[in-house]
Amino acid sequence: MELFSIFLNPGFWFSLIRSSTPLIFAGMAALIASRSGITNMAIEGSMTLGALAAVVASWYFQNAWLGLLAAVLVGITIALFLAYFKLKMMADEILVAIALNLFATGASIFILFLLTGDKSNSSALNSLVLPTVSFAFLNNIPFIGQVINGQNILVYVAFISTFILNYFLFKTPMGLRIRSVGGNEHAAESVGVYVHKTKYIGLAISGMFAGLGGAFMSLGYMSLFTRGMVAGRGFIAIAAANVGGRSPIPTMFSAMLFGFFDNLGNNLQQFKVINEFVFMIPYIATIIMFAFSSYRRMTEKKRLNKKILASQKAE
């Protein structure tokens, strides 16, 4: 029963929103790349280097917004790099992404050490963090006000950008073009879509979101960069996008579901459970939900065929 008391605490839901935010950003990065026909497995690395770039720029310029900008630029650069290797160098996108992730892990520790003399975190750099926002009118709403008020500004950006991305993807010509090159690039080409250009744009947007996710990790979620801080969120996001059917709003909810497990882990530590098992929760949840959603996608065609057959019989 003690366990259920944590769900009644608004603090739990407050931190649920907070820990979902990087997954929402990364989930958007995963889905837009996937929609444009390239699997972006390098989100993990983009977030890692983005988080580091954010801290370094925030410290160097003493301006958190420039930190955010730096992270976004790093994210876009890595994503375009991936697109270039895939489209021009004919490389396997997964192998390139693996290389980029290895690079990000090594390079982030390397750069961190050169700047601070410390390999584990950036506490030596007094970097600024992005501001939190509170709305006076929300204070009047009990519980919900406590949950959604006073979050870091990027939290609101994450949720709002979900709707913007949804509009962009489904209601604008560019969004249609991105979906078409991902769906069938030859068909898209035959009606005059610049396939490569469109894919580069899709990947740039993906990189931007990965950068935002990285920036949130070190300028909001925490106030510094620590080694391994992204902790597989870039890959969990790929699962989240998959569970969300590669559409922004469902992906937002699935990211929150993954955020729930992440948060549950953090909250269970107060009970006398073995920490190592608690830490496993988000990863186990990811495998299960990822398998389930992939299975649905795999059998989608079969179910569709069945439906068609059934309707033909009815006629």
């Binding site: 290797f85 004919m90 390139v96 693996i98 892990t105 090594g106 390079a107 998959n242 073995i274 398998a291």
Partner: protein
């Protein structure tokens, strides 16, 4: 009658020549990738070091300066060869299952568990430990492979999540099961002294695991290039649909390759444990699974080249460690180099124009000869 005989020969020559050109370009491309990455590493060192020449000398020649350091290179080459072979097997199927990373870490722990609990004499304990590492590795390789087959979930994502789970599980075993409470450091009880692999070169820690490694390399090569199953596996990796329509049980082949590959990584973990250490003290995975990716890529997924690639990676790793001890340049510089090597080798179109030009030239040459 001579012209009649000459013609088919010329044709065969052309095909041979072209495949030679392709092979030469492949080697050349890898050479260029290595060169560019080494130039880059040297540039970075030159930028950040006070004594760049000394630092570069440490990095490139440091590992050769004493028997102990040469020993270090060989010692490191052994686990890298095992994980490199593991990734080679797995990648041959075109499945990016990276369970080998977790398998290696898990197997080092399994080897410790076996050594601490075995009632048998040392030799049997060692054999049991190696076998246990192999089996546990295989099981860990099986999970993402099966989830991919049955549910269609991307095996890379599943295997990476699994690696996190495995790492936490190993840390649990370390903290709650095998931890020596009398030791200040976080480490396991000491293994029985006799449960270790024989070190046959005095002054180094080079152990009989080296011989086992050589055997596994040969066996892997024979399996892949000299058996029917290996042929089927290679065909499947090259063109899954073709294999399927030729009557290959694609799913089965792909699963077995991932299980066998990851099992080799597990074997490597157990060998490393018994060969080098007498207590378990990895608070985090040594990460040899990640190095296996670069070794396998550098070896062009051919087991015969894996030890060579592992030797190269071990050499620059040891060089970077030496550099780190004397100059404070972090050894992570190596992972930057590794990433660049993978990128250049993965980039199929890199220098493609030059290769094609050469092939066209050769064909024209032969064509004009034929016309005469």
């Amino acid at each position: 009658m001579t012209w009649f005989k000459k013609k088919p020969d010329a044709k065969r020559d052309v095909i041979k020549e072209i495949s030679n050109i392709e092979k030469r370009f492949e080697v050349f491309r890898i050479g260029i990738a290595l060169l560019i990455s080494m130039v880059l590493i040297i540039l970075v060192i030159a930028l950040i070091s006070d004594d760049p020449l000394g630092a570069i000398r440490e990095l490139l020649l440091g590992p050769l300066q004493s028997l102990r350091r040469i020993g270090n290179v060989i010692e490191l080459m052994i686990p890298l060869t095992f994980t490199g072979l593991a990734i080679t097997m797995v990648f041959k199927t075109n499945r990016f299952n990276l369970a080998a990373e977790g398998a290696f870490y898990m197997a080092t722990m399994v080897a410790v568990l076996v050594a601490l609990n075995s009632p048998f004499p040392p030799v049997i304990t060692i054999i049991l430990g190696l076998l246990a590492g192999f089996i546990v590795g295989g099981l860990l390789g099986l999970i993402p492979a099966l989830i991919n087959l049955k549910f269609g979930a991307n095996e890379l994502v599943v295997s990476l999540m699994q690696n996190y789970i495995v790492a936490f599980f190993v840390q649990y075993l370390l903290n709650y099961v095998v931890r020596d409470p009398n030791s200040y450091a976080i480490q396991s009880y000491a293994l029985p002294e006799s449960v270790s692999l024989f070190r046959f070169i005095p002054g180094t820690r080079i152990h009989v695991g080296l011989i086992l490694m050589a055997v596994v390399v040969v066996v892997a090569y024979i399996i892949l290039y000299r058996t029917k199953w290996g042929y089927v596996l290679r065909v499947t990796g090259l063109n899954e649909k073709f294999a399927k329509y030729s009557g290959v049980k694609v799913a089965f082949v792909i699963i077995i390759a991932q299980v066998l590959g990851t099992a080799i990584a597990g074997l490597g973990g157990a060998v490393e444990m018994y060969g080098i250490y007498n207590t378990f003290k990895f608070a985090a995975s040594p990460g040899y699974g990640w190095d296996g990716i670069i070794v396998a890529t550098l070896a062009k997924l051919n087991p015969a080249f894996v030890p060579l690639a592992a030797l190269f990676i071990a050499y620059i790793r040891v060089g970077a460690d030496i550099l780190n001890r004397s100059t404070n340049i972090p050894p992570e510089i190596v992972s930057i180099v590794q990433a660049i090597i993978i990128l250049f080798i993965a980039a199929k179109a890199f220098m493609k124009a030059a290769k094609e030009k050469k092939i066209v030239e050769k064909s024209r040459e032969v064509a004009s000869e034929g016309a005469n």
